[in-house]
Amino acid sequence: MTDLLKISGLHASIDADGKPKEILRGVDLVIPPGEVHAIMGPNGCGKSTLSYVLAGREEYDVTSGSVTFMGRDLLDMEPEERAAAGLFLAFQSPVELPGVNNANFLRTAVNAVRRARGEAELDAVGFLKAVRAATKNLSMSDDMLKRSVNVGFSGGEKKRNEVLQMTMLQPTLAILDETDSGLDVDALRIVAEGVKNLRSPKFSALVITHHQRLLDYLGPDRIHVMARGRIVRSGGPELAKQIDAEGYASFLAEAA
């Protein structure tokens, strides 16, 4: 079996007042099927940029490097094609969609993805059944399905809504961009359970986080430390503990 995700020498920049500003400076990363990896690193090191580039955000200009996802050239795909292929990004701050009903949005997304994967679309009953089960697991109220997407949601509700979407879209690779930030202990546990429930040989995750606690729940296979736009160190779960104890200073020194 080949690697699920393979990032090689990835450079990406963003337009800052007319000048390109390089944020990713040669990222190398491999995620095999069924594994959970975590990326840790100080603010501004490029973690969120990496997640946006992988999901296909257009503002970022990939200047060199390659990304293959399930053997396909990921960078050549439209954002929705990446979603259909099984890549899911849980956004750090999900945007609000006024007037767009949450359930309707979810059903439209699920069926778009199912169609693209050659699966049968869910009818109203089938969808409702699936979504009810998922909301129950996440301790979400049905009321949230009736509201506009993310509009007036608390921070915790937004994050749960992201995990709900992930559950429904059944990705092969989920990128969780600080999904644990702003959550209290109970909410964190619920979210973490939501991710854990998906764990299988066919599901991988790339978890971007600052905190040991989420990793304790998830039990990651590998930890990567990112600094100044590159992965500067990779190791086992013990690396996270080292960061928790010592901070990033030594890694920053390595990256300089």
């Binding site: 503002e59 979603a83 969609l97 997304a109 506009s148």
Partner: protein, 496 residues
């Protein structure tokens, strides 16, 4: 609803882009010679076997029209119209005798089928679907107007049992002359404006609705307008009278073939609501908008006005305007009865080279009158769309209230979206609130949807539908579904 379900399926089948109602029906037509003069008017009146008073009324309107000039204040641009270069009467040639569905030219029926409007009552009934969790819905009675004349009206028997008159206006002139004479032109006088005067002179058909005291109309009434013949204008006239405590919901849909010439549609709609009466008037306007270079399309210059004459009466206009090369239309409410209510809910979408200048007028005359205006404007391509609305509180309109919300969405940087409200208050206890915003679909919203697997066009459709939700929810359910699809189709090719 069957009529609409079929329409929706038709729309779904359309798949890709462009206007799919653009086919032409090959049918034998009875057409008046080109040109507008007293002779034409006499000919129309004679063909319709009209009484003398109506002919006089038409001729007076024509004389008034001759002295008037085309309004130029709207933000629309078009070459001068040659009013002598059009036919003012075109009708499918018909057999003499009473009109029943069996006698309608089968070619015509096929046309309406293509449009998704089955006229056969049987088919209608058989087609009734009950969506899951929904109550069984009432069927819709349809009046179909083909160019200048009404070709078929369904469910008339059921309606007449309830005391409701729903017929082509030309028949109403014959069968209910007193009613027509009393109300025709009482809301939109013959000389009201240039297009209304033109319509009054040459109108050929349209629908007539009368709901007597205390009757809730047992089903939705609907008219489908279709322009088919070349070089014709369509000038239909609709008159709806709802007596004390009665109510009706009326739906209107419009299509036309694709042609590279511009065709004029100058309709007049008059609504009269008496004490405690309610009229809900919904329009899905999908006249041919012209091609992507702005060639062809309908000029939709329409005068619609409702009079809330009785206390606590209510008139609600809902419109989804996606078609026409140019739209000039301001469905209005004259709120005369104490505590009467006017509503205007509008979605106007323009793409390519379309131009729309549309809005409403709420004229508050009586005490405690209320009005609500929700207008959503979406511009794409190289189009221009303007909301233009008037709220006027007259000195006696004590404690009157208006709330107006206008939102514009621009898609692309070659279009324009404009908001021009006129607010006039002459009563200190009246209160007017107006809000308007202009924005675009944010990159964040687009990306979020696409990350969840939606195509760009689906994402735009979804966001636009969300943007329009407050208006779409006012439409009868079956129309709302059709309208949503139309919105998406209208915006095809506007992104990416």
């Amino acid at each position: 609803m069957p009529a609409i379900t079929e329409t929706r399926e038709q729309v779904e089948k359309l798949g890709q882009s462009s206007y799919k109602w653009g086919f032409e029906t090959d049918i034998e037509m009875d057409v008046a010679p080109k040109g507008l003069n007293e002779e034409t008017i006499r000919l129309i009146s004679a063909r319709k076997e009209e009484p003398e008073w109506l002919l006089e009324w038409r001729l007076a309107a024509y004389k008034a029209w001759l002295t008037m000039t085309e309004p130029s204040w709207a933000k629309v641009v078009y070459p001068p119209i040659d009013y002598q270069d059009a036919h003012y009467y075109a009708a499918p040639r018909k057999k003499p005798g009473p009109k029943s569905l069996d006698e309608v030219d089968p070619e015509l029926l096929r046309t309406y089928e293509k449009l998704g409007i089955p006229l056969h009552e049987q088919a209608l009934l058989a087609g009734v679907e009950v969506p899951e969790g929904e109550e069984a819905r009432l069927p819709v009675a349809v009046d179909a107007v083909f160019d200048s004349v009404s070709v078929a009206t369904t469910f008339r028997k059921t309606l007449s049992e309830a005391g409701v008159i729903f017929s082509p206006i030309s028949e109403a002139v014959r069968d209910h002359p007193d009613l027509v004479r009393k109300y025709l032109g009482s809301v939109v006088p013959a000389g009201d404006n240039f297009y209304a005067a033109l319509n009054s002179a040459v109108f050929t058909d349209g629908s007539f609705v009368f709901v007597p005291k205390g009757v809730r109309c047992p089903m939705e009434l609907s008219t489908y307008f279709r322009i088919n013949a070349r070089n014709t204008g369509q000038f239909e006239r609709t008159l709806i009278i709802v007596e004390d405590g009665a109510s009706v919901s009326y739906l209107e849909g419009c299509t036309a073939p694709m042609r590279d010439e511009n065709q004029l549609h100058a309709a007049v709609v008059e609504l009269v609501a008496m004490e405690d009466a309610t009229i809900k008037y919904s329009t899905v306007q999908n006249w041919y908008p012209g091609d992507e270079n702005g060639l062809g399309g309908i000029y939709n210059f329409v005068t619609k006005r409702g009079a809330c004459r009785g206390a606590r009466s209510k008139i609600s206009w809902t419109q989804v305007e996606t078609g026409s090369a140019i739209t000039w239309k301001y469905p209005s409410c004259i709120l005369q009865g104490e505590g009467s209510v006017g509503e205007f809910y509008s979605v106007a979408v323009t793409n390519n080279h379309q131009q729309a200048d549309t809005g409403t007028k709420m004229i508050h005359i009586g005490r405690n009158t209320r009005s609500t205006i929700i207008a959503k404007t979406i511009s794409a391509g190289k189009s221009d769309s303007t909301y233009r609305g008037l709220v006027r509180m007259l000195p006696k309109a004590s404690n009157a209230r208006n709330f107006t919300q206008c939102d514009s969405l621009l898609i692309g940087d070659q279009c324009g979206a404009h908001t021009v409200p006129y607010i006039e208050n002459r009563n200190m206890s009246a209160r007017i609130e107006h809000e308007a915003t202009t924005s675009k679909i944010s990159e964040d919203q687009m990306f979020y949807c696409r990350q969840r697997g939606l195509s760009q066009e689906d994402a735009v459709g979804l966001i636009v539908n969300g943007f329009c939700k407050d208006v779409l929810k006012e439409l009868p359910m079956e129309f709302a579904v059709e309208a949503q699809k139309l919105l998406q189709i209208s915006l095809e090719g506007s992104v990416g």
